[in-house]
Point group: C2
Chain length 146, copies 2
């Protein structure tokens, strides 16, 4: 096993983690990012809300806590805070505290977070795009006489 190309070594290193294995850390990571609020937070931070047409402008957008809270309709402060904390811990976003009169806290995606944003946004768009199809499939499934 002496000769191994650099590419092979790199490939091996990449396969180091396998989310199919229960004990693999990447399984936990997958579980963590496979979360409704995570996907929505990332989607919100990655693109501006009011004008979704001009998406992926390049630079991440920063948002305040209250902005996020409003954008993600129905989220509780607990879940929002919790989600933001874990995302910050994982290095997906940064939390900036500005000591203004009432304190101002802004959140912004890191490069790492932005890389995931692209994927997550795709998931969200998929859900919105294929909603009709899925709905139709469910109806077919539920009304089959079999």
């Amino acid at each position: 096993m002496p000769t191994m190309t650099a590419a092979q070594q790199r490939a091996q290193a990449k396969l180091e983690y396998d989310a199919f294995l229960a004990s693999c850390p990447s399984r936990q990571l997958l579980d963590r990012i496979s979360d409704k609020w995570v996907s929505l937070v990332l989607a919100a931070l990655g693109s501006d809300g009011p004008n979704p047409g001009k998406d992926c402008a390049g630079q991440p957008r920063s948002m305040r806590y209250s902005e996020l809270s409003r954008r993600l309709a129905g989220v509780s402060q607990k879940m929002l805070t919790q989600t933001l904390r874990t995302l910050e811990r994982d290095g997906l976003l940064t939390r900036t505290v500005t000591p203004t009169v009432p304190v101002t806290v802004t959140y912004e995606l890191t490069d790492l977070g932005y890389s995931l944003h692209h994927l997550m946004r795709g998931i969200k768009v998929w859900a919105e795009t294929h909603m009709d199809e899925v709905l139709a499939n469910r109806e077919k499934y539920d009304t089959r006489t079999t």
Copy 2:
């Protein structure tokens, strides 16, 4: 109450579904596909396990229940069955029962499921790829004296 404002109608027409809204069906769909087992099932069905090198060959791969059970280490029959049922109901995969001596059941992605597979696989790969980075970030976060 039957009358809807013009703004509401326009909003409805423009972006029929918006996962940011709590009441939108796509929010539920997003929640459903934002699931550990969903992502793993889709990842498993989309590409062969033993030889992941020859990925995305074009036609979906069919797998038996027991195959999936083995591939997704740590999954309970309940969760696997439940996940497969909902995915079937949503039209993401097909369930085929072959009345052999011991009954044989195979699962296979539909075109719709395959379209999602690409995205989900990206998420899984992302988790495996950036695991080290995330782990490092966590350590930094936990050991900061601030």
